[in-house]
């Protein structure tokens, strides 16, 4: 598995800790949720229709491909939301999380 994104230059900065499907991932201040997830993975979500993997497309809030779910049920557009310490993100279908 090759992450879809990599940093252009390594950065020395305190990490933010998030989880993705319960697994810890690291991000840095200024990273969007999309960046945090794709620096360590290959997908953001699975489609409701065919169960296909998706990882965003336009990165500017237009295509709506990057909606992800928080463990508390909130949904957010990953490309336009900054990663925050303690965010718990899950690959679940819309309507699934209570």
């Amino acid at each position: 598995m090759k992450p879809l994104l990599r940093r252009a230059a390594p950065l020395d900065a305190p990490a933010l800790r998030l989880t993705w499907n319960g697994q810890p991932i690291a991000a840095q201040p200024g990273d969007t949720v999309l960046t945090a997830l794709l620096l360590s993975g290959e997908r953001l979500r699975t489609t409701l229709g065919t169960g296909a993997p998706r990882a965003g497309f336009c990165l500017m809030g237009a295509c709506q491909d990057c909606w992800v779910q928080c463990a508390d049920g909130r949904r957010l557009r990953a490309c336009s939301t900054l990663a925050e310490e303690g965010m718990a993100l899950v690959d679940s279908l819309p309507g699934e999380c209570p």
Binding site: A9, E42, P53, F57, C58, A62, C63, L82
Partner: protein, 461 residues
């Protein structure tokens, strides 16, 4: 003490969008003693072209290349706006009625009356569907650029750039300079078109020189570049692993870890549509655009249009049209403006227009592949396929895009037609044998972008 009732009652002049057009418009209003409200979805001014990173690293030159001075100027002007005007960052317009905008920020709703409104909502990439375009690792050209300048990240490591337009070469160049492994640049435009466009491109010799510089730099480093080259498919299972390209009549597979694709830009026109601005079909851009006069007045009194949101013209044109639109707002309000300045703007805009025509010639917009398989996903959001569209078009004798939407749900997904309207329109026109200009356009409906139901419920009574 309460403020005077008269001052409270006067609605403000409002600018929507803080890209180059919106920033110059707001700046112009301020210079004439008017304090506008500026509404922008991003945390910082700059739009997409001069998008600022939330945690900037590296030099401005690294992020904006040759445009770094223009970018810095817009950022500085934007910073002054944040101090001197009523600047609403991270705020989106979700609905509008004559004289009123409905705003959302951080899940909270608000309503803003306006006396005059300038819409500078910019553009996104123009994309057409192709097999595999929904795979993880396939992004738009603009998206690839935002990863780099907005987030200091690279897609890849091995990346193919495809499509057409000046952005194709710019982003490929930026990635190659930043250490990306550019496997190929596939331009659908024929080389002969680009040669033939040179006279028009000479209207802006500096811009032409920059474009040629990117081309030359890539060539000098051995990056494979092809003209008349199109994408047959993105290949892969869980993510993109390669690209099948048609180059010079033959098919070739190129291994890669990412693909960035785009065919120019498409205007964001939803707000203009909600406010009932008249639209016309622009044959050069193959798109319906809100109509405006030379100064930027829309068909609706009090509503003005500037920048790429009303037709693609590029960043410099956006700055000029933003200023010009603001001058029209001021003149229409009875405020004195500098007519000589207006004439100078007009002349510069005319030269840029001629250059833009050259770009349109050099990078003709391709159509969707009319022989595409029925299984091609046209609607990313709801995975609606070309076969379903064709079948409905035939069964119901559909000659109108809204009718196709009603009967197949195309354009009813989360992106509200942004990604699929172009491809769907071309497919419909093609299978019904009607010109693109005759099938109509999808009408925008609120919310302008999807919004959680709970946020809708937060409105103040």
């Amino acid at each position: 003490m309460t403020a005077s009732p008269k001052a409270e009652a006067a609605p403000p002049m409002v600018v929507v969008g803080a890209g180059p057009a919106g920033v110059r418009a707001a700046q112009t209003l301020l210079r004439h003693g008017v304090r506008p409200v500026i509404i922008d979805e991003a945390p910082l001014p700059g739009g997409q072209i001069y998008r600022q990173s939330p945690a900037p690293r590296g030099s401005a030159r690294q992020r904006y290349g040759f445009e770094h001075k223009r970018a810095a100027a817009i950022h500085a002007a934007g910073a002054r706006l944040r101090e001197q005007a009523d600047y609403r960052a991270r705020t989106a317009v979700w609905n509008a009625a004559p004289g009123r905008l409905d705003l959302v920020r951080d899940g909270e709703l608000d309503s803003l009356p306006y006396a005059r409104l300038l819409i500078a909502t910019g553009a996104t990439d123009r994309v057409l569907p192709f097999p595999g375009w929904v795979l993880p690792g396939v992004f738009s050209l603009g998206g690839a650029q935002i990863a780099l300048k907005g987030q200091h990240c690279l897609l890849g490591p091995r990346i193919v750039f495809a499509g057409t337009g000046p952005l194709l070469y710019l982003v490929a160049y930026q990635y190659a300079r930043a250490g990306g492994q550019v496997q190929a640049v596939l331009d659908s435009a024929p080389l002969s078109r680009q040669a033939g466009a040179l006279p028009a491109l000479m209207n802006q010799p500096g811009m032409l020189a920059k474009g040629l510089y990117y081309l030359g730099w890539l060539r000098a480093r051995g990056v494979p570049m092809h003209h008349s080259a199109s994408l047959a498919a993105a290949l892969g299972a869980a993510r993109v692993e390669g690209v099948r390209a048609r180059i010079g009549g033959a098919e070739r597979t190129i291994a890669c870890d990412a693909l960035a694709v785009g065919h120019g830009l498409r205007s964001e026109t939803q707000l203009a549509d909600l406010l009932d601005c008249a639209f016309g079909f622009d044959a050069a851009q193959r798109a319906w655009l809100p109509q405006r006069d030379a100064d930027g007045r829309s068909s609706v009194v009090g509503v003005y249009l500037a920048g790429d949101g009303a037709g693609i013209g590029g960043a410099i044109q956006a700055e000029l049209s933003g200023e010009r639109g603001a001058l029209a707002m001021l003149a229409d309000s009875g405020i004195d403006i500098d007519r000589a300045r207006l004439r100078r703007l007009e002349r510069r805009q005319a030269a840029l227009s001629r250059f833009r025509q050259g770009l349109d010639r050099a990078f003709p917009l391709p159509s969707v592949d009319r022989d595409c398989d029925d299984s091609l996903i046209v609607c990313r959001c709801e995975e609606i396929r070309a076969g379903e569209l064709r079948a409905a078009a035939a069964q119901y004798a559909i000659d109108d895009l809204n009718r196709l939407k009603a009967l197949t749900r195309i354009g009813m997904g989360l992106c509200q037609g942004r990604m699929c309207q172009g491809g769907a329109a071309e497919l419909l026109a093609d299978c019904r044998g009607i010109p693109l200009s005759a099938i109509g356009r999808l009408r925008s409906q609120a919310p302008i972008k999807p919004m959680p139901l709970s946020t809708l419920g937060e409105a103040r009574p």
